[in-house]
C-alpha cells in the first residue's frame, strides 16, 4: 500500500479489520484484497463448518508480520459476536442469510445476527467504520418510469413483506437496523449494495435473466440491462468502502461498466458454456403472468405462494439503467476486471463445473 493511498484511508495497515462471512464467495475475495493492499491484522469470522483452510492459506507465503486470525462461531451467539468484534477498528459485514426461502430463516440469519454484532460493537468505542453489505434486492422500482436510472437516491421497498422474497425483506430490515444503531450510538457505517455478483464460485444464472422453475428456461430479461458486478470488483468496492475517509452514513451501489443486456448475456452463455432451449417471454406477458399469479395467490389464500407478483416483476424485470458514478467519485473505485474478462472467467468456471458434475 503506497503512502499516498494510505493517506486517504481511515486506518493504518496494522489496525484490526474484522471480516464476517470471510469464507464465502465474496468474503474470501475481500480477505485476499485486504492482504494484497498490505493490511496485516485481519480477523476472519466464519461458521464452524466453513472451509477456513482457504482463508488460512492466503496468509501463507506472505512476508512475516501478517496476523490472520480465524474465529469460528455463530453470529446468533452474543458471546461469539463479542469475541469477534473485540478490538476491531473496521468491520466488513458480509455474513447473511442468502438462499433462505423462509422469511424467519432469512430474517434470523441477516437481521438478528447483524443486531447481535451491532450490540457487541456498541460496547466498545474503537470502531471507525462498519460496512454493511446489502443488496440491490432492497430497491423498489414501483414508481419509476421505464428506463429510469436506479441509483443510491432511489427508494427501498416500504413493504418488503409483500414482495414474496424473504431475502429482500431481510435485507431491507438489516439496512434499517444498521441505520438505527448508527443514529442511536453514533456508529459510523457505510452501506454497500452490490448488483448481481458473478464469477467463479457462483455459476448460476441470475433470475433477472430468466428462470427455469417450470422445467424450461423462460427468458424474462430480454433487452434489460443486467446489473452485474464481478466478484473481485465487488470485493474491491467493499474494501474501499471500509477504508475511505469522509463517507460515513453513505450508501453505494456496486455495478461494473459495460453491462450487457439479458439477451446478450444469454447468447454468450449458450455460446461459451452450453446450449439449452429457452423461451423468450415479452415484458408485457411476464407482467400479466406475475399479476395473475399474485391475484390467484390472494384469491386462493396462499395455495400458491405469492413468489411472482408485480412488485417482484418491477424489481427484477422492469427496464432499468444502473449507475456506479457515486462509487467512482466518492470511493475512487474502478472495476479492475473488465466485463469481457470477467465473463470469460465466469464461463470457464461454468464449463469446469459442468465437466466435473
Amino acid at each position: 500500500m503506497s503512502q499516498e493511498e494510505n493517506n486517504g484511508f481511515i486506518i493504518g495497515p496494522d489496525d484490526l479489520i474484522l471480516v464476517t462471512g470471510a469464507t464465502g464467495f465474496i468474503g474470501s475475495r475481500v480477505v485476499e484484497n485486504l492482504l494484497a493492499r498490505g493490511f496485516r491484522n485481519l480477523r476472519c469470522f466464519s461458521r464452524p463448518s466453513s472451509e477456513a483452510s482457504k482463508i488460512e492459506a492466503l496468509s501463507n507465503g506472505r512476508r512475516n508480520g501478517v496476523r490472520l486470525e480465524v474465529i469460528r462461531g455463530n453470529l446468533l451467539s452474543p458471546q461469539d459476536c463479542t469475541a469477534a468484534a473485540r478490538g476491531a477498528v473496521v468491520i466488513l459485514h458480509l455474513a447473511s442469510g442468502r438462499g433462505e426461502k423462509s422469511y424467519p430463516d432469512a430474517f434470523v440469519n441477516s437481521v438478528v445476527t447483524t443486531r447481535n454484532l451491532l450490540e457487541a460493537i456498541a460496547r466498545h468505542k474503537c470502531l471507525k467504520r462498519f460496512v454493511n453489505v446489502s443488496s440491490f434486492a432492497v430497491y423498489t422500482n414501483t414508481q419509476k418510469s421505464r428506463w429510469r436510472l436506479l441509483d443510491e437516491s432511489c427508494p427501498v421497498e416500504t413493504h418488503p413483506e409483500l414482495r414474496g422474497d424473504a431475502y429482500c425483506y431481510a435485507k431491507v430490515r438489516q439496512d434499517e437496523i444498521v441505520a438505527e444503531y448508527g443514529k442511536r450510538f453514533g456508529l459510523p457505517y457505510v452501506i454497500v449494495r452490490p448488483g448481481y455478483v458473478y464469477g467463479p464460485g457462483n455459476e448460476g444464472i441470475t433470475g433477472r435473466v430468466g428462470i427455469s422453475t417450470f422445467g424450461v428456461f423462460l427468458h424474462l430479461g430480454g433487452s434489460n440491462i443486467i446489473p452485474f458486478t464481478y466478484v473481485d470488483n465487488c470485493a474491491e468496492a467493499i474494501v474501499l468502502a471500509g477504508l475511505r475517509k469522509g463517507i460515513d452514513g453513505e450508501v453505494f451501489n456496486v455495478v461494473d461498466d459495460d453491462l450487457p443486456s439479458s439477451r446478450q448475456f444469454l447468447s454468450l452463455y449458450k455460446q461459451n458454456v452450453k446450449h439449452f432451449k429457452s423461451i423468450y417471454v415479452p415484458h408485457l406477458v411476464s407482467y400479466a403472468l406475475c399479476s395473475l399469479w399474485e391475484q390467484y395467490s390472494h384469491w386462493s389464500e396462499g395455495q400458491l405462494e405469492p413468489v411472482f407478483n408485480r412488485m417482484k416483476w418491477r424489481a427484477s424485470w422492469k427496464k432499468t439503467r444502473y449507475s456506479n458514478e457515486k462509487l467512482k467519485a466518492r470511493v475512487d473505485w474502478a472495476p479492475k476486471v473488465p466485463m469481457t474478462e470477467g465473463l470469460r472467467r465466469y464461463f470457464e468456471a461454468c464449463r469446469s463445473r459442468i465437466q466435473s458434475a
Binding site: 461458521r47 430463516d105 434470523v108 413483506e161 389464500e301 395455495q303
Partner: protein
Amino acid sequence: MLRVAIVGCGKIADSHASQIRRIPGCEIVGVCDKEPLMARQLYERFPVKRCFDDLNELLNEARPNVVHITTPPQSHFEIARCCLERGCHVYVEKPFTVDEDEARRLIALANEKSLKVTAGHDDQFRPAARRLRTLTQSGFLGNGPVHMESYYCYELAPSGYSGAVLRDKRHWVRRLPGKLLHNIISHGVSRIAEYLTSESPHIIAFGFVSPFLKGMGESEIIDELRVIISEEEHTTAYFTFSSQMRPSLHQFRIYGAKNGLILDQDQETLIKLRGVKLKSYLEPFVAPAIIAKQHLGNVLANARSFLARDFHMKSGMKYLIESFYRSILQNTPVPIPYREILLTARIMDAIFAQLDARQSRVESHDQIAVHAAQSN
C-alpha cells in the same frame, strides 16, 4: 371470536399464522418470542394484533383462549404448563414434549383444569390421510391391522433447517435425546400409534450415522433408523427413517385380514389393495388396470381440491386446528386422542433409549479396542 396466540416465531410459526387466518371465527391476538425482532417480523407479516417478548405479558395483556406453542421442543413443557395454569387451551407443535413423562404431566394438568391440548401431528389430517382413516373405520381392512409400514424420510440439504443443524454443533436439535430424529419422526410414528391397541408394544430399534454424514465428519447425528414394533402376537409394524434412500418416501402402508391401503403423502394419494386375487391371467392384466384407475381417481380428487382452493401444502394443519378449535367451542372430543399422543411419546422414548444404549456399547467397545492396541 376465539382469541389465539402463537409463542415462538420461527419457521413453523409462519405455517400456523397462515392457516389460522384462513379459519373464520378466530383472530391472532398476540405473538411472542423471547427474541423481540423475531416476534416483530411475524407481527409485521400477518394480521396480528400485538407482539411480545415475554410470555407472561402475552397471557396478561392479550388474554388468549388458545395458545399455539411453536418453540424448540425443550421448552414445550414449561410454556404449555404455564399456559394451562392460566386457563388457555394449548396446541403444541411436534414433538409434543421431550419425553412421555412430560406429556403425561401436561395431559393430566389439562384434564385437571378442564382444558384441551393437542399435538402438531398435522400430516395425519391431510386429505388422503383422512380418506384412509374413514376407510379403516368403515372396516375396509377387516378386523384391524395385521401389519403396518411407515416411511418417514428426510432429505438433508446444505441450506435451511438441516444445514443449520449440521453446521452448528450447539444447535438445539443436537441437545434433544434423539437429536435430528427426535424433531422429525413423530409424524411417522404417530401413524402407527393410531392403530396400536396395547399400551406397551415391543420395540426393537436400530440406527446409525449414514456414510454420507460420516464423510462430512458427523458422528452424533443418527440419520438412518429402522424400527420393529410388535404387539403380543397381534399387530406388527415397521418404521423407517432415512436421509439417504431415494425416493425419499413419506408413506404409510396398512394391511388387514381382508384388504390393504397405501397412503403416499407426497403424491397425496390413497390406493386400495384388494385382499382377494383375481383368477389366473386376470390378476396381471386387470389388477394393474384397477390400480391405474385408482391413481387417476386420486389425480382428479387432487385437482378438484386444488380448484376448490383446498389443496394448500399445510391443509392438514388447517384441518387439525379447525378440529381442535371446534372441540373447544363445542366441548367435543379432541382430534388426536391423548392415548395416541402418549403412545407416540412412549415409542419414541424406547427408540432413543435403545439407540443411546447401542451408542454407549459401541463407544466402550472402541475404548477396549484402543486399550488392547496400546498394550500390544
